[in-house]
Every structure is written in structure tokens, then in C-alpha cells.
Symmetry: C2
């Protein structure tokens, strides 16, 4: 066990796109767990657009990360010392960690660290396809959108950690036509060649709306929105009567302010009697295991394509933070910090 | 039967608040019905905020009223000549009419004129509490919001033709706490003294948000939105987790442009997993009779207070059009044109 605890602390609240200079590197001594706490060694950090919200003043659905505190992240770790009866040394765990080699975690909150069961799939899947992204996609598609085989479904940010899984879930459920939206021909190729989508449309292309309309001659029955903004307005106009929309994110806003621009075309909700609902995994915390089992089965059956971008080295932690908003490669972005012992 | 057909024609597409000068008075000769048509004499015209949308260039969910055409209205009339086997001379009918003494109506469209059954209640109720407003309120409350006895429900434009009925429907269904929003102390008094709401909050008062928050200590479970704009944003912030919102209108926009300002706080949909759905009566056209029967029963039981503002005289038709947006008295605004024969 190293004696050094490397940390990346939030130096200031960033304006606009987050940068490395918004964080401060520090080396601290190892923390000591008290009664009811565990000491966890960091193995992997997952990257998610919502981390940008956590460092705004309002924090969104969680308290904001404080200035001078280690940056919050979803992660995988290993218990190296436990003073809580439910956790043993050596346990592999997942949940909220932070950007440091060692984290002391209280495990009595509403979302405690989960002990990972022994499994024959890679540990990192717990951060992506079987973690927040995959499970959010799963409940959004099956429980919110309640997709039907006859549906035409459109999914934005279709190469993202959530969107890429959402499309495959729709196809696994037998949906007739699933269309992914992404920026650039390379990502669009990935959508139909690696993921199981039926078609892809490049939103950066000048004939984007015309092309999408052509692919959805009877309108869009279900839209999985990860981006908000103009795209949401475009889809509101394309929705079929009584269509369903799930609001999963508004990445186009960059999450730099508490309020994001509202959809100008939202009166389509009224005139087409659309059903628009949000998804937050917190509300499904009692049903996560069922989701994980179904997703794992679909992966084994080849119905879900797993894509991960794994970068190695604690020093890269801040540099990767803006990537979910911009140019990252398809799938889940993960930082590897250490191997389990 | 008069030989003269008085008409109010749309002269131009109004900008902003509609005025009398946007219409032109004309006296025409009586039209003659062809095969499959009926000639209807106008008795009552109902006023509705959505008429403002029909005279914009886009028309909303219906084709726009053309320049030089008689203004479209919901109305009650009497068949004076029929060349359609389903309609007989003397039949009282309701549906889309227009601002003229006599209308030739085709009755084969998706929303044909409905023959009114003999009933022991006033004819005008078919335009208000048993018409579009009352039925929209009924299906929005029972089928979209699916209110529960334990709910805290908030309704905006609570003295309007729809909102006033919506509150009483909630109470008839046993909802614990129903709060109406309106402008000014007089309207707020009406909400609790005439309608059956539990409380009223004056949105023009400086402590409006604090007062509303105080009345909803556990958040708002269901919000009936008739106004959009800042009010919708305020309510998004006050909604309880997994709350429900029905979008029935956006009257605060004045409906002068196709796009109305979108809610800036709409990401609450995601973080609180709200369910936001529209209501358009068109989608309930096979279930209207059941709604009318239930509403009529509740009125007979004293559970729904019926309020109508009836103005007499065809000459007033354009003058009343902006009133649903501004200072009109509570309830349904109706113009009386003639008595049935």
C-alpha cells in the first residue's frame, strides 16, 4: 500500500468549458477510517457529463463539490481497511468516489458503496454498460418510453455512454426502427456498424432535418433526449401524435449554468398530446439488480455492443472531464488508476 | 328567418393583442346548402384563448383562418335547412361555427357538428362546463394527471373556463388540497367562495412564490398548466419528485407567435423525474359522452360551480376576443347571437 495519497482538488468553479487549471494537484497522507467507515483504494474512475453540474454552485440533484475538495466521481475501488461490519478487506466496490488514490467512505448514506459480486465480465463494465449509463438507458427505454416493436425511436448522443446502450436495448426489445443521432460520419458509421442501430443521421450535416424526416415518414414515436437545445426542438416538431420523450440530459447546454435554454417548441406537448418524462436512476435504486441481470444476458447474447475508452494514469483525471461533451470516441470513458490486488 | 347574413371577417393577421380593427363587418346574402351540407343559424359563440392561435399564420393544431374569411368559433346553432340525412330542421347543434348569422356546414369532417340531446340544463353549458373547457379539464384531471386523494394540486388561470372547472373536478374526486392561481384579490376570493378550491394565491402579489411554497410544504404533486412562461418555471421548481404536469395552454405568451418561450427550469423534468403531458380534446373524441354525463352529475350534486359571462349582440363579437387573456370575469365568456326558434 502506497503511503502517498494523490488528489485532484476543485480549485474554483469553472466558467464555460472546464479545464485542467480548474483543479489543483496535491499529495496528502493516507486518511484513517473511523467507526462505520471504510478505506477504499481507487481503481477506476468513470466520466459523465453530469460531473460538470456537480461543480456548479447549485450542484444539480446533488450537493455541489466544495472548493478545495477532491472532485467527485463514480468509481470502482477496493476496500483496504474496514470499520463497518458489511464490508471486508479486499471487497471490490462501486459508487461515489473522488479523485484521490484513497477515499474514506461513510457507507450509511442513501447511495452507499455497493459490493460487486464475483462476475466473469470485466470490472470496468460496472461503470458503463452495467453502471449508471447502461442502467439509465435500460429503465428509460423499458419503463419510461415503454418502447413497442412498431415504434420508430430516435436517440441523440447515440455514441455516448448512455445513448449507445439505449439503441441496442431498443433493438433487443424488438423495436422496428431505431435511429441514432451523432456528429460526423465516423461516429455515424460506428452507430450502425458496431452498435445495432438501424440508421444514423449526422446532425452536423446541412440536410440533417430533411434526412431525419425522411427516415421517420410517420413521425417519431419515442425520442431519447440526451442533448436538449435545438435538437429537442427539432424532435418536438417531428414527434408523432401521442409520442413519448424521455429527458435524460441537456448536454448541448454544457451544464455551465443552473438553467438551460428551454425548448421553444414545447407547445407540441399540448397539441400532439406528447408524454415527456425524466429519468434519474436514483428512483430505480430498488430495481438495479434486475436491470444488471437483463443487460448482462443481452451482452452475452451479442445484442449489446460494449465499447469502452480506457485511459491509464491518475495524472490525466482533469484533462478527460470535458470529453463527454465534445470529441470523445464512442462508448464509456474510463480512467484506470490501479489494478486490484 | 332574416334575409341578411351579418359577418365578421378576419381583415389581417394581428400583431400582439388582437383588436376590433383586425376584423371587418360585412352583410352578405344567405348561403345555400348543397348536398351533404346543412344551413345553421348561430345562437351562441364561445370565447377561447386558442382562437388567437387560429388567426396566426401557422394556425396551431388547425388550419389558420384565412384573410377575408369569417372568424372561426366554437358555437351553438340551430339547423334551419338540411341536405344531410343525419340532421333535421330544428336540431340544436354544437361545434365549429364562425362569426356570421348563418353558416353552411359540411358535416363529414373529423369533428362534425354534434346534435345536442334534449337536456334540462341551459343550452350555453354545452359551450363551457360541458363543452371544450369542461371536457378538457375533465380528461386532463382524470386521465392525464390521474389525481389521487393524497395529492396537492395546483391549477393556474383558475378562474378561466377550463381552470375553474378543473379545480372543482379535483375536489369532486376527493383530492385533499387544491390550490388555484389567479391575478388579484377579487378573483382569488371567487376561487374559494364560488368554486370549491381549498386555497387561492394571487400571482400578482409580491410574496407569491413564498405563499405558494408555504401552502405546498411537501411540494406539488400535480400541476395543471394553462399559462406557461414564468409560472411554469416557478412550478417546475416547486414540483415534488415524480410529480405530474399537464400542459393545457400557454396563455401568458398571448399566442401571438408560433413559438412560445420554453420553460428555463425544464431540467427539473429530469432531476425529479416529472411526467409532463399535454391535453388536446381531439384525442378523446370517442369518450366525450362519458365525460359530459359525469360532469352533469357533479353539477347536479353541487360539486361543480357553473359560471358564465353572457354578452348579448352579434356586434360585440370582435371586442370580446382578447378578454380570455386579460381582465375578464370568472368562468366561460359567451356571446348570445339569437334565441332558438
Amino acid at each position: 500500500m502506497a503511503e502517498l495519497n494523490r488528489q485532484w482538488l476543485l480549485r474554483r468553479r469553472p466558467e464555460g468549458v472546464v479545464g485542467v487549471e480548474d483543479f489543483e494537484y496535491r499529495e496528502a497522507s493516507l486518511p484513517t477510517p473511523q467507526d462505520g467507515e471504510v478505506l477504499v483504494r481507487s481503481l477506476y474512475f468513470g466520466y459523465d457529463a453530469s460531473q460538470r453540474i456537480w461543480i456548479t454552485e447549485h450542484g444539480g440533484y446533488m450537493p455541489p463539490v466544495g472548493i478545495g475538495e477532491p472532485m467527485r466521481t463514480m468509481g470502482i475501488g477496493q476496500v483496504v481497511a474496514s470499520r463497518h461490519p458489511s464490508y471486508a478487506e479486499g471487497d471490490l466496490v462501486t459508487g461515489f468516489l473522488s479523485w484521490q488514490d484513497y477515499v474514506v467512505a461513510r457507507v450509511d448514506g442513501p447511495m452507499p458503496l455497493q459490493i460487486l459480486p464475483k462476475a466473469d465480465y470485466p470490472l470496468t463494465w460496472n461503470l458503463g454498460v452495467l453502471g449508471v449509463g447502461g442502467l439509465t438507458a435500460y429503465f428509460a427505454v423499458t419503463d419510461v418510453l415503454k418502447v413497442q416493436p412498431t415504434d420508430t425511436v430516435v436517440i441523440s448522443a447515440a455514441t455516448g455512454a448512455t445513448g449507445s446502450i439505449a439503441g441496442d436495448i431498443c433493438k433487443a426489445m424488438g423495436v422496428k426502427r431505431v435511429i441514432g443521432l451523432a456528429g460526423g460520419p465516423e461516429k455515424c458509421r460506428w452507430i450502425t456498424e458496431k452498435a445495432h442501430y438501424d440508421a444514423a443521421v449526422d446532425y452536423k450535416s446541412p440536410d440533417f432535418v430533411a434526412r431525419l424526416r425522411e427516415l421517420c415518414p410517420d413521425g417519431v414515436d419515442a425520442y431519447f433526449d440526451n442533448v436538449g437545445g435545438d435538437m429537442l426542438d427539432t424532435l418536438f416538431d417531428l414527434m408523432a401524435p401521442r409520442g413519448r420523450v424521455v429527458i435524460c440530459g441537456a448536454m448541448s447546454s454544457g451544464y455551465t449554468t443552473p438553467d438551460v435554454p428551454g425548448p421553444k417548441k414545447y407547445m407540441n406537448i399540448c397539441t400532439k398530446m406528447l408524454q415527456v418524462q425524466g429519468i434519474l436512476l436514483f428512483f430505480y435504486r430498488d430495481r438495479l439488480q434486475a436491470g444488471i441481470e437483463t443487460l448482462a444476458r443481452w451482452i452475452a447474447e451479442g445484442k449489446i455492443h460494449v465499447e469502452e475508452q480506457i485511459v491509464e494514469g491518475f495524472e490525466h483525471a482533469p484533462r478527460l472531464l470535458p470529453l463527454p461533451f465534445s470529441g470523445k470516441d464512442p462508448g464509456k470513458l474510463i480512467l484506470k488508476v490501479a489494478d486490484p490486488s
